[in-house]
Symmetry: C2
Subunit: 550 residues, 2 copies
């Protein structure tokens, strides 16, 4: 191999410029390894879509090269796209026990063609392919059993942090393996790719275990039921609620599909410690005094169909909120969900409940803040630095942090999804760019977010749609000319409605007599009507025209 060939290709297929869809490709000597394969929840402007997955086109083309899929932890934005990826490529999936437990659950729902190989790994364990050696390093995060990965080739070592925070007192005592990061730093790290989610937050994050006091305060003063909404995957948070319930002699019921599933998986794998009799069925809560009940539920982001939203809207089957209830939303609000959470809180307050939310002492972030990010850079002493996992503003802020630690600006890479980056001992640069589609999943179908379907939905949601059906025999327009509309404000005005009908009839008559064929006629008529309707109403509904020959 010549010096020219001696470089690693790094292609982020997600996780840059927006949080979610985490997936990074590392390619060297005809081998590919993949780190993470997550989903992303779309902005409000793509209605109806369940979620987005990364564009796998490049991986499909190079599927023979793929030797390993490494998953850093069990959050949806890191594991959610694994079933879709395994429908396209066939490679072993490496992760810790809990991560694989969550992945197995997803694969049961959407089984791949080939039997998937899920290979459990542990921190400090090493996996080798011909070109790559990967060591897994324990980190802390808002889900247990997360790892960073150190990827070593004969060019040097890349550390991909995954999501992480530094917690000196995590609930399970499994502190981030700072020593291992330091050892890599001593022996030389070529590139650090590090989590930027909280790069704009100053100081240190708080420890998960520091929440205990705040939770116990609430438990000690609550007069009736306590209802805790949290992320379904936040096993340590659930453990804290279990511990508090045990201390205050309360039973625990679960409500919400994802929390029930994750609780079962985490319990089976030994990640949760509690006495079996502590747990009761949600249906049986009414058989206990309110003071003896804790409900752990979904809905911390105000998701419309979640357990907490159903309680707020009085549509929950088993829990009716009253002024004796205490509700704890133990999660931070995901950007974009502020309003929905606020609405749920308002509904709960109106029912008289005590609601704790958006408070420091009931939630700890899972992502390293500025000073922790500095510690990671200081320990690993990388030659090159690449902020990952964040919107542009977060990547930029993380880059500034690295600069403040004397990493040269020329050695810091702010990249975009699809960039083809090449790294050798001395140079780290963009060489090309893949054009990525935004792939959405909706029920059992997938599609491109730029598709007509999504554009139509956006148009219909603000402008509505008009349907015109004309019947002709030869060049003669026959009665009736049927015009209907949905979601179009103009049709509430009879004058507007009549004007549109008259114009359509006159135009069709004329165009038929001109001898225009149906296809041309539809195009011409659409143009005319679009202009006419906009003039009348300042709206541009979709116009769908059928000409039927009888």
């Amino acid at each position: 191999m010549t010096a020219e060939e001696n470089k690693i290709k790094i292609i982020p297929l997600g996780g840059l410029g927006a949080i979610g869809n985490h997936l990074t490709v590392f390619e060297y000597k005809d081998e590919i390894i993949i780190v993470d394969a997550g989903i992303m929840f779309p902005d409000e402007d793509v209605p109806g879509v369940d979620f987005l997955i990364p564009d796998f086109t490049y991986l499909e083309k190079n599927k023979k090269k793929i030797k390993a899929i490494i998953i850093t932890h069990g959050h949806e934005d890191h594991i959610g796209a694994v079933p879709f990826l395994l429908q396209k490529v066939n490679a072993p999936v490496y992760g810790t026990n809990l991560t694989l437990g969550f992945i197995q659950n997803k694969l049961d729902e959407r089984p791949p063609k080939n039997d998937p190989k899920l290979i459990p790994i542990s921190p400090r364990e090493t996996v080798k392919t011909d070109a790559f050696t990967m060591e897994f390093i324990r980190i802390n995060h808002s889900i247990v059993d997360g790892i960073s990965v150190a990827i070593t080739t004969d060019i040097g070592t890349i550390i991909h942090s995954g999501d992480f925070k530094i917690d000196y007192s995590p609930l399970d005592g499994q502190v981030i393996d700072l020593a291992r990061f330091a050892e890599y730093g001593e022996s030389g790290v070529l590139l650090l790719m590090s989590d930027s989610t909280n790069a704009m937050v100053k100081g240190y994050s708080r420890s998960e275990s520091s929440l205990k006091e705040g939770l116990l305060d609430i438990f000690s003063s609550a007069k009736g039921r306590i209802i805790v909404a949290s992320f379904a995957s936040n096993i340590h948070r659930i453990q804290q609620v279990l511990d508090a319930a045990y201390k205050y002699n309360r039973k625990i019921a679960l409500s919400g599909i994802s929390i029930e599933k994750n609780f079962a998986i985490a319990s089976d794998l030994g990640y949760l410690t509690y006495k079996k009799e502590l747990i009761i069925d949600i249906k049986k809560t009414s058989g206990f005094p309110d003071k003896k009940i804790v409900v752990i539920c979904t809905g911390s982001q105000g998701e419309p169909m979640s357990a907490l939203s159903r309680m707020a809207n009085a549509t929950h089957k088993h829990i009716q909120i009253s002024d004796k209830d205490t509700i704890v939303i133990s999660a931070s609000v995901i950007p974009g969900k502020e309003k929905t959470v606020s609405n749920v809180v308002d509904s709960l307050l109106k029912k008289g409940a005590e609601v704790y939310y958006d408070k420091e002492d009931i939630h700890a972030t899972g992502h390293a803040t500025e000073e922790e990010l500095k510690l990671m850079i200081t320990l690993t002493k990388p030659k090159f630095f690449m902020p990952i996992h964040g919107e542009y503003k977060h990547l930029k802020a993380h880059a500034k942090i690295a600069e403040s630690l004397k990493i040269k600006t020329s050695r810091i890479m702010i990249a975009e999804n699809g960039d083809i980056l090449e790294l050798n001992r001395n140079i780290f640069k963009k060489t090309d760019k893949l054009t990525l589609s935004k792939v959405f999943v909706e029920g059992s179908e997938t599609g491109d977010i730029e598709s007509e379907i999504i554009k139509d939905r956006q148009s219909m949601s603000t402008e509505g749609i008009i349907f015109i059906t004309a019947i002709r025999t030869g060049t003669v327009l026959r009665d009736p000319l049927v015009i209907t509309a949905r979601g179009f404000i103009g049709f509430t005005n009879k004058k507007v409605l009549k004007s549109i009908k008259d114009t359509a009839a006159t135009e069709i008559d004329k165009l038929l007599l001109d001898g225009m064929n149906d296809e041309e006629l539809i195009i011409t008529l659409k143009k005319k009507l679009k202009k006419h309707i906009f003039g009348l109403t300042r709206r541009s509904p979709i116009i769908e025209i059928n000409i039927i020959e009888v």
Copy 2:
């Protein structure tokens, strides 16, 4: 008049449970006065709607009683519905000069049938009707020339705060008239209705004039153009930018319709002080060095068509953002707009611009925070208290503040829009409730937000729509059976498409032979297809069916 009759009716038609649509009705001795008539921007779940206005049904029914419409200040959520109100009722509108200037501008766009009477008033001035005496009291807010109103009848005095904050050093030196509030407190206030927007924020708000330093810091260090986005009505903020530009010898250009209009109105009425030559046309900015330019623009909330969004998307006609530009978003983010603002910021940062946003020293709130709210209650010493202007959580928090000042819980009224409240010297209670519609405005049309049009839009935006046109001669279904869809994911799958077509054809054939009339047929077919389609796709598109007899 008997003691029984001696009570004031208070009906909030907007402003409670959600921020916006501010309008309160006061009714006494067959007279009605109205305080404010504002619009509200809808949640994301009512797409396409321009804004909401209060339901005027009660006012239309009682229009002969209406003696005065008092507008506390010139913000959209207090003045925006005045043109719509004046289309239904005819009464003089009282406001300070700037408030009336903004209202006149709205009336020019949507002129009422009768010539509107706009009557300028000043703080400490009094207006009388037979039943009511209204005195206007100066307050501070994020727009100049705002007032509270003290409404006195022979039962007692009600103070309606409007929106307010307490600013000891406002830019124009016109400090809130604390003495007048104190005098009313001394002589006895029966009811205080007070702004709750910031009831959940601790401490005191910062003074508008304290922003000067932060702005000058940015001006002194900016290397190229400075672009400031702010609320178009925040005249003092605009004045501060004018002052800073003058100091640093920069020209000012305006960009955005609302900022241009408001600037013109405020200038004409003498609310802005600057040298004429300071202002240049936005088209001429390219003729000056970047260091000599300030642009004041719309878009502080990331509104898609605003000047700042167009700059961020590189679709602004005259300003192309580069890495030499400094952008200041001098406004707080309205709840629900966090994500759009964040996206605009990200786009601007990507172009290399320096962006200041969401920072304390470049924005001061216009609403009193906890300690100021305490001052208002302490000065006015009301017998009854009613928190207004806020979501339920804000009203509740404000109620708790009042309780902390020893106002009895039984004398605190948390009401909802439409509640009919009755107040006499000793009792303040709910007696009944109006059923209010949520009225939306879209272009030149108004409608009810519960209407089919809005529901259809919501459905179409997530599920799509299917159109079926069947032609029959008597009971015989003729070819072709036309089925089209928009926004429906199922039709991307040929099997699904074929199954739906086959089912529709079979069903129509059968139902026609059964002798079903068109109306019944359509209902029956819709039910069958809905079930069939949901079974196939887990989606429920709207199904629109036309049967045409030929």
